[in-house]
């Protein structure tokens, strides 16, 4: 079958003629406003999943007054099905450090932190050494910016930016009310840029190659490329950097095992797309956006088990702070179990769908708000598998 899927090599590309430090040197000769304009022009949106325009985030933080500001790299990659940040941290950490330093220069921050999930502590030994070399290189250049590591301790919700700040401040990882947004009051209530690992690498690479090359990839709504974590029923699981805006059927042709029943796009909190919708689903901000998690299920899999696993995950990882999420996750899980056992009629699933609507409006953070994504897309497309 014909396939137009375009593989890209930006994130992991190693160019001996232009190291991340050389990109940094080159970039710091430019004005902060020019760098921001380039980022806005490139169309880069956050690669963690939420997709906020990176250039604007930097601009808002730059516009805040105050001497103390922070740059934080969100390396609390916990979304089921995602493992790209671990690979990036392992293979090209200097590109992350360079992106953070450029950001520090642009917004006027002197400290940067990488919040690494506790599950990735085994990376620390190697990373600390590389970070020390990088910090020394900054010192030698008289650049007033230093980067530090902070470790998480096994809490999915800390990937939510305000919960991450709470955790760094020694508190329970409970999300804050917004506004204020991090650009105004983030870590230690100071203006903070918080970017995903992959986003920071793209900022370095856009500074290196210019916005035009980046913009030439993808579609008008989804500029550039993105690293995808491919897992599940596929003969070739792993990390792939692909152009954004691809139709899902092309992805399935490339990665499926010939018997693909559904793809969960965007991890446990994302959407489940059944085979009949592969043709008209676009992977990108105009279709289904994703932090990169692509889990493939073939016809041997029970979608009830898949949904059950996701709901168990959310029930355990809900921080418990707000009632809609804490109670909602539990009731959804109990609810599908009751329908499966025949203790509740199939129509009860529609009541549960209404509950996800309440959670979407009333839950405090993205965790509770997005549980309806997998729930409704699996119930709507695989209702018979949930009931029988």
């Amino acid at each position: 079958m014909e396939n137009n899927l375009k593989k890209v090599d930006i994130i992991f590309e190693v160019d001996d003629k232009c190291t991340p430090l050389e990109v940094l040197d080159k970039t710091l000769k430019r004005s902060a406003d020019d760098i921001i304009l380039d980022l806005i022009d490139s169309g880069l949106k956050g690669r963690g999943g939420a997709g906020f325009p990176t250039g604007l985030k930097w601009k808002f933080t730059r516009n805040e007054t105050g001497d103390v500001k922070y740059v934080i790299c969100n390396a609390d990659e916990g979304e089921p099905g995602t493992f790209k940040d671990r690979e990036i941290l392992d293979r090209v950490p200097e590109k992350i450090f360079a992106g953070m330093t450029i950001c520090g220069y642009v917004v006027g921050a002197k400290e940067g932190y990488i919040y690494l999930r506790g599950e990735y502590n085994f990376l620390l030994k190697n990373l600390m050494k590389k970070l020390e070399d990088f910090n020394n290189a900054l010192k030698k250049r008289n650049i007033d910016f230093r980067i530090y590591f902070k470790s998480g301790s096994g809490a999915y919700v800390c990937g939510e930016e305000s919960a991450l700040f709470e955790s760094m401040e020694g508190k329970r990882g409970e999300p804050r009310n917004k506004p204020p947004y991090p650009t105004v009051a983030g870590y230690n209530s100071k203006p903070t840029v918080i970017n995903n690992v992959e986003t920071l690498v793209y900022t370095t690479m856009i500074c290196h190659m210019g916005p035009e090359k980046f913009k030439a990839l993808g579609t008008s709504d989804s500029r550039g490329s993105k690293v995808f974590s491919v897992s599940g029923d596929t003969p070739i699981p792993g990390i792939y950097e692909l152009e954004l805006g691809m139709p899902l059927h092309e992805f399935v042709n490339e990665f499926g095992d010939g018997d693909t029943k559904a793809v969960q796009v965007g991890g446990a909190s994302g959407h489940c797309v059944p085979r009949k919708k592969f043709n008209d689903t676009i992977i990108g901000f105009e279709g289904i956006p994703t932090g990169g998690s692509m889990m493939i299920f073939n016809s041997s899999r029970s979608m009830y088990n898949v949904l059950h696993d996701y709901l168990e995950f959310f029930t355990e990882e809900s921080c418990g702070q707000c009632t809609p999420c804490r109670v909602g996750c539990q009731q959804l899980l109990k609810g599908i179990e009751a329908v499966k056992r025949g203790e509740r009629p199939p129509a009860y699933l529609d009541d549960l769908k209404k509950l996800t609507g309440t959670m979407k409006i009333a839950a405090k953070c993205g965790l509770g708000q997005s549980v309806g994504n997998p729930f409704n897309s699996i119930i709507d497309n695989f209702r018979e598998e949930i009931i029988y």
């Binding site: 089921p80 099905g81 995602t82 506790g118 301790s153 999915y156 760094m168 990882g173 599940g232």
Partner: protein, 156 residues
């Protein structure tokens, strides 16, 4: 080995005497003592000038900050969907039989605790487990058993 009090003082000294140091201090204690005892939590509260309830509140929030005694080696088998599809149940059953403990329990000699964990970020190479900070992807029941036996030999 340091007493708990000395360990807490050392960690506070190293990380700074403020609330922002709470996580690294608690993480440091878990690394040495495998869990946070009541004594340790009270010591931290005193050293950082925080309410004990605050310290316990933070500690009890995080999966990796255990407040019940754990073995020297903590095994965490990933149970999330792709590892589930690749056979994490067999891994758990094999380890459970070999160590003669259920998930959540610790062996009598205090060498091992067997736990499950949510997604560890190795979905392309499942099933996977962590033992302390080390990661072991692409497991088979046999491979998992051999790895745990190695730990048994080297732990006194």
């Amino acid at each position: 080995m340091l007493t708990t009090e000395a360990l807490v003082k050392e960690l506070v000294e190293k990380n700074g005497r403020n609330r922002n140091s709470l996580m690294p201090v608690l993480q440091g204690i878990v690394q040495q003592e495998h869990y946070l005892s009541e004594e340790a939590l009270l010591c931290v509260a005193k050293e950082l000038d925080l309410a004990a309830a605050d310290v316990y509140g933070t500690a009890s929030f995080y999966t990796f900050l255990d407040t019940v005694p754990r073995g020297k080696n903590i095994i965490r088998v990933c149970k999330t969907i792709t590892c589930h599809m690749k056979g994490k149940d067999e891994i758990i059953n094999t380890l459970s039989n070999a160590l003669k403990i259920k998930v959540g329990e610790t062996t009598h000699d205090k060498k091992f605790t067997l736990l499950t964990a949510n997604c560890l970020g190795w979905c392309h190479k499942g099933p996977v487990m962590l033992i302390n900070d080390e990661v072991y992807p692409e497991l088979t029941p046999q491979k998992a058993l051999e790895i745990v036996e190695e730990y048994a030999k080297s732990t006194h």
